[in-house]
Amino acid sequence: MTIVITALQYLGYVLIFPGFLFCFLAGMLLCGIDRKLVAKMQKRVGPPILQPFYDFFKLCGKETIIPASASKTTFLMAPLVGLAALVVIQLFIPVFSFSAFSGMADVIVILYLLLIPAMSIILGGAASGSPYAGVGLSREMVTIISCELPLVLVLLAVAKTVGSAMGTGLCFSLSDIAAYQAMNGSLITKLSMIPAAVAMLLIIPGETGNHPFDAAEAETEICEGLLAEYSGAPLGVFKLSHAIKMLTLTSLFVALFLGGLGTGIVALDGIILFLLCVVLTAVSISFVHAITARLKIEQIFKFYWTLVTGLALISLVLAWYGL
């Protein structure tokens, strides 16, 4: 009996909070708020906040065309795998002190799990056989490479800071990081973590593929790149994945740097998390979107491997010497 209840509880985690339903609603709202904010900053009215929902449902009602040169299974399954993988990552990220499954993976694992959605979109695009997807794939991959180095440095800096404070040397576990912050306040208050937090803020749009780091999906140049051949529901799932990715990365930021703000009540924590995600999205995605033009792919690479890596490196060195 208890097993059944536990199973139902975990199923609830997966399906409702912080799983699918939360991801779907929060991610889509986040995406809508982002679009609204960008429009505001560009002196526009902007779409309604529910616009991503409309887009998603509309795409569900469209015909799905499979190109003759595509491999059908990969083409259709890739979006679903990507979506499922993203939701699982979201499950692994603690919501302040509440963590459904966060005891099962640490930050390095998260780093690698984040590659699965990216791989799913890459393979899906490649499976369509479109030459535009070929170009998009190359750019997507270079963007991933660009973001990887600074992200690694940020994660190592956090691990080192928490680890040396807890006396274990290093600490990769997300739940330990959350527990540490719950006791000692947010990590962002530490001097050594400020450059890392800034670097992380700059990494978020790159990882999600948002403007100006969206060379991989440049709709005006390479016809949305990897998504060029997708239509209908699979495209909608990719758009949904993109929205959830924004949520995932911002909540990863919250888990890494803004922990300890929770109240202990799960429902309230969820709302606080969402609000923090909105603020982070506003700063790191919308604001950056509004003030920049799209970068070329080699500029993206240069930007991440010089400026952002530099910031993260400063943070790591500061953390190393215990500041």
């Binding site: 526009r44 902007g46 779409p47 409309y54 065309i65 709709e219 949305e224 060029a228 495209l235």
Partner: protein, 147 residues
Amino acid sequence: MFKKLIQESMGKSPWLFHINAGSCNGCDIELVSVLTPRYDAERLGFKLAGSPRHADIVVVTGPVTKQSLPRVLRAISQVPEPRCIVTMGSCPQSGNVFRGSYSVAGPLSKYVHVDVDVAGCAPKPEAVIDGLALATQILKEKRGQMK
């Protein structure tokens, strides 16, 4: 209920795919100006899509030259149903000043069913918005007819 939701959404997020079939760029500029802060079609859900596979509404400008005709038809055929074809400006409707040229294959309505014509040379952005709104209504009807 889900069907209703889809149909409602269909009217709220039409994505455009713009085909320049030999246009002088006048209409193209006006179409882009629809998306500028002044007119901001995005608040109605309009968005320029990069690929015909993503589009709901195909906007054709230009007199449909012989070079572009197969590509135009190809791109239109790749738009998933339900779709709506809008001709923008006088050229695709009749050929306008290019009518009778050896290189013009238009008008477009000879080859595909055109849903909405937006006249003007080039049409005012408001007229484009009107035309797209009309196209969106047609789109919704078409969605309703789909099984």
